[in-house]
């Protein structure tokens, strides 16, 4: 890594446009909301910025802390499942013949160009009590049942469809469905055209596929895995449509509460404070990550 003084011209050309954009079109609007988080409501839509900590104190109520914890759990599960699914998929894309690569990549991303809401409703149609998944299961069940009876065994009895919707399982399932490309794409980007000689060497030296995978492929994919975890976990943490539509009576996530503050509860200061708490937490986690990765790269060089 170069010191920026070594080549200030390149440094400024690279940093000025993004920095100015971020400042003008993100930090400035954000500053407004940040100020709101220290304000209180006046009348129906007035917000007086009085630098009161009340909104933050209100958010420390165990009620909200518990919802924060639950959201972290949902997002964590989602990220883990996404990683488990995305690793083999992105490896397969990476090692696919060149002319298939583009097609596979597009096939992975294509469902996500359909509107989120429509996709979620379609998922509901697949998972509902009398949905297609249960219909499929029922026909399998019935044929097994029929065979069992035919050979003189007791049947399996009547089919009771499992409840796949309106519970926490459905929320994680839906979140994985929505966030999978956020994991596949960075993994693919990190793995593509990686140096195969490492893998070949490992296999030649007698390490099995399994060991090669964990001691060579995974470390090679590490930057991609970290990026993927970050850009999957954080958006998953902020989901509110999925728990709203697929969740049961106890699937509320923090973003649902935040959304309500900006809509039905009409309490922008409190909504802002909750948003910023979420941001402080993730920000802290990212800083921690940066700290540790810097420690490692310093040792490497």
């Amino acid at each position: 890594m170069d010191n920026w003084r070594k080549n200030p011209r390149v440094f400024w050309i690279l940093s000025a446009p993004p920095a100015l954009w971020l400042l003008g079109f993100f930090l400035l609007p954000l500053a407004l909301i940040w100020a709101y988080s220290f304000g209180h409501k006046e009348g129906i839509i007035g917000i007086a910025i009085s630098w009161t900590p009340d909104n933050y104190l209100r958010a420390l109520d165990p009620l909200y802390l518990q919802i924060f914890l639950k959201s972290f759990w949902f997002a964590g599960m989602t990220t883990a499942v996404c990683l488990i699914v995305a690793l083999p998929v992105s490896l397969a894309i990476t090692f696919a013949p060149a002319r298939w690569k583009a097609l596979l990549l597009v096939l992975v991303i294509l469902p996500f160009w359909t509107n989120l809401l429509i996709r979620t409703y379609a998922l509901i149609a697949v998972l509902r009590t009398r949905g297609f998944l249960n219909a499929g299961l029922e026909s399998v069940w019935d044929s097994v049942d029929g065979v069992a009876r035919a050979v003189g065994l007791d049947g399996l009895g009547a089919f009771t469809p499992p409840q796949l919707l309106y519970n926490n399982f459905a929320v994680v399932f839906g979140l994985v469905y929505v966030h999978l490309p956020f994991m596949v794409l960075p993994l693919y980007a990190a793995l593509d055209r990686m140096d195969r000689s490492h893998l070949e060497a490992s296999l030649d030296l007698g390490a099995g596929q399994f060991r090669t995978f964990f001691s060579i492929t995974v470390p090679l994919a590490m930057p991609g895995i970290l990026s993927g975890v970050v850009i999957t976990f954080i958006p998953a943490l902020g989901s509110f449509l999925t728990p709203d539509l697929l969740g049961g009576t106890e699937s509320q996530m923090i973003a649902n509460v935040i959304e309500r503050q900006f809509k039905s509860a009409n309490d922008w200061p409190f909504g802002s404070a909750l948003s910023f708490i979420l941001m402080y937490i993730t920000f802290f986690a990212l800083a921690l990550r940066a700290f540790f990765s810097r420690g490692r790269s310093a040792m490497d060089t």
Binding site: I44, I67, D244, S264
Partner: protein
């Protein structure tokens, strides 16, 4: 169209003047303010409405009659509408908020007064709708459609008529087959009705009581439906759901086994209103369109298509018996007498709804 010409008759003008005088100086002043702009407004109207909430040909017919092109955008719920207009009007001329939001928007100054002189078809309204508690004198709003919230259910799976909120709120008879509307205020308001309180109570003890009841009932509730309870019912995911009457009516068309009832404790009466938001670029066109909607023939075409109850008596009289005598659309007087209209009770009560709802979900 025909009725537009009719409005020019002297008798009407006299009544118009009378009503304008009644409605106060503010409106008259507003009327003066509009007049100079009469020639200047371009022939366009930005109408912000709910989906499938207008007649099939209404916009085209209005264009033929007035030359004004209506551009209709859709919003999905009142909270969205309110949040979007809070920081200023991005260019809408006419909006359709529900009664309690009309009240809240009036208090915030988000609506501009109507010029009753420009809405002569007001005389077509049923007398019950010419005034409103949430907008005394109808200074800011004209009624568009009204209805109830009750219970939609699957006849073959339910014993008799579920004519009490008990079956949703306080019983395990239909455990796992119930959906409630996932809306913080509605869920409390219907619980208040069941508990024998006013739907507009602001008493914290009543809130606590309702909250305890819903939390106790939670294991038996399958989902808090996000305005799609009718789909859950039609798909067989649940057998009873709290819903708006119009939503249930739509699925009843395709499924004979579904029915709708307003429990004997009474339900919620709602009223969607036509209002002009402050800062509307073309208020005159908006008045003209409001007047057109309140016309008997145009109103009939809208009502027969969207199947909600119209407050437009002339339109109802013109409509087919299948519509105008449908007790699911026009509930019997006894139901109306038991039911209440939600009022805007202030921001503190709004917060009680929200915090209670958060606790119910987290429990």
């Amino acid at each position: 169209m025909n009725s537009m010409k009719k409005t020019q008759s002297p008798a009407n003008r006299g009544r118009r003047a009378f009503l304008a005088a009644l409605s106060g100086a503010g409106v008259a002043a507003a009327g003066l303010r509009f007049s100079p702009a009469l020639a200047a407004e371009e022939k366009k109207l930005n109408f912000y409405n709910w989906d499938t909430y207008i007649g099939e040909t209404t916009l085209d017919d209005f264009k033929a009659a007035s030359g004004i092109e209506v551009k209709m955008d859709l919003f999905a719920d009142n909270d969205e509408l309110f949040a979007k207009l809070r920081e200023g009007n991005p260019g809408y001329d006419l909006i359709v908020p529900t009664n309690d939001y009309v009240e809240r928007m009036i208090k915030t100054g988000m609506l501009q007064p109507l010029d009753h002189a420009l809405i002569p078809n007001r005389r077509n309204l049923d007398p019950n709708f010419r005034d409103a508690q949430f907008d005394p004198g109808r200074k800011y709003s004209m009624p568009y459609m009204w209805g109830t919230i009750g219970i939609g259910y699957r006849k073959s799976k339910v014993r008799g008529t579920p004519d009490s909120w008990k079956w949703l709120y306080d019983s395990d008879r239909y455990a796992g087959r119930i959906a409630l509307l996932g809306d913080s205020s509605t869920i409390f308001q219907m619980a208040f009705k069941y508990l024998g309180h006013s739907l507009n109570t602001a008493n914290p003890a009543h809130f606590a009581e309702a909250e305890r009841m819903v939390i106790k009932q939670k294991p038996h509730i399958k989902a808090f439906a996000d305005d799609n309870g009718q789909d859950l019912l039609a798909a067989g995911d649940v057998d009873l759901t709290m819903e708006w009457n119009g939503d249930i009516l739509q699925v009843m068309e395709e499924d004979d086994d579904i029915a709708y009832t307003v429990p004997r404790e009474g339900g919620l009466l709602w009223q969607d209103c036509l209002c002009i938001p402050t800062g509307a670029p073309r208020p005159l066109n908006a008045h003209r369109f409001i007047d057109y909607i309140l016309d008997a023939e145009a109103g009939k075409l809208i009502a027969e298509f969207i199947y909600y109850a119209t407050p437009n008596k002339a339109a109802r009289d013109l409509a087919s018996a299948e519509y105008s005598r449908n007790s699911n659309i026009f509930p019997p007087d006894s139901v109306v007498a038991n039911s209440e209209t939600a009022l805007y009770l202030g921001e503190d009560v709004q917060r009680m709804y929200d915090e209670g709802w958060t606790r119910i979900n987290a429990a």
